[in-house]
Symmetry: C2
DNA sequence: CGGGTGACATGACAAATGTCAGAGGGGCCA
DNA sequence: TGGCCCCTCTGACATTTGTCATGTCACCCG
């Protein structure tokens, strides 16, 4: 395989500094070429439509729509475009969501550019790549033990709202809300609902 | 001023990808040279001692010790070394803390590498540089209305711990803790202490 | 069809939390 | 020195929670 045409990349990250630097570094690899850059979720989608890249390298946290949402849309609109998610804070639940959205690769930003280039090639060839450490975390943390309602109520409780407000927003009775919160708290082994929110967040279950 | 020797830089960021990319980009500027890199707070300090750089470019959030703590130590040990903080999530309080620690520059990662290079030069010449948007946020959010104790107690309450635990850890009576929490909550206009924690965090007051 | 499970509810009780009034002591500054 | 503000505490009270027992209803599966 001598003169394959280079892999066309879309780079999306809201931090200009990182995105630019990354573009520069990846361009040094002569089998990779950055054809488009975006600073937000919607922009990434638009760029993908316009340039139909081979691989989309997406940051997980972007304004507008996060990497996973963009990946979902991309999956439908451009099935040929592989998606690789890059993230600073790899929480187990994100990985699971990402894989469910058809993402082919998931790596933390702690990898080197060299390594990232290799992973981009891996993904482009149709293989999957998940950072071993993140994968281990995801397996260790397991599936969410929360039912859909419990998770929903816990989420509404996330900003410290009192039960009355949660009940109203969820269209549930206060007693029911307290029941859900109580069971969520005990399932997570937390001291109270606020600690439960923290735990669930850490594990990516909300 | 024709043949000044290049500005010697220390780069500290726990994300290898970013750090490497940044190093590569900044090295393209012929008046800048990266003499050391670090992936954690303590490592940054050690590197600074070993290489005595002209400017230290520090990420705000690093394992071990954050950028501001490193800056504080650096101020004492290497007064000649200017510190520039780079951050993803610019919260007003951080800026204030950073300036108090003698940091000369504070910029979000949304700037371009070009711009960053200019800012590094500015800082190296002894001037200060603070991102205008972050500065505006900091001014708008104003000073913390919390007394030292209120902030301390609020911080201990941050992870959802019950009052009893806070009281023990702060060596205060439970009643006192509740009084402080109560006054903090009302000063912040929050619904309860958990919402207060969130608000205070957002504004960088804890 | 019967049984299990989850969504949803009520009511009651104990525990934690929020609020208020008051009170003593220390430091700072006019 | 007197006033003011903060720190610290106490005690009492109303409100909000967490927990438990219990019940109804709908749905899915064997």
């Amino acid at each position: 395989m001598t003169s394959t045409r280079p892999v066309r990349l879309l780079l999306a990250d809201d931090e200009h500094l990182i995105r630019g630097a990354l573009a520069a570094l990846l361009s040094l690899e002569d089998d990779l070429t950055v054809v488009a850059e975006a600073a937000s979720g919607p922009e990434a989608l638009a760029m993908a439509r316009a340039h139909a890249p081979d691989v989309a390298v997406l940051d997980l946290q972007m304004p507008g729509a996060d990497g996973v949402k963009v990946a979902t849309s991309l999956r439908a609109e451009l099935p040929g475009c592989r998606v690789l998610i890059v993230t600073s804070h790899g929480r187990p639940g994100h990985l699971k969501r990402a894989l469910a959205a058809g993402v082919r690769g998931f790596v933390p930003k702690t990898v080197s550019a060299q390594r990232l280039a290799e992973i981009i090639r891996t993904v482009h060839e149709g293989n999957r790549y998940v950072d071993p450490e993140l994968a281990a975390d995801a397996i260790a943390s397991g599936d969410s033990p929360l039912t859909a309602r419990e998770a929903e109520v816990l989420e509404l409780a996330a900003d410290g709202a009192p039960v009355a407000e949660i009940a109203e927003r969820a269209a549930l009775s206060q007693g029911t809300v307290r029941n859900y919160l109580s069971s969520a708290v005990s399932k997570l082994g937390a001291e109270n609902r606020h600690a439960a929110v923290r735990l669930a967040r850490e594990r990516g279950w909300v």
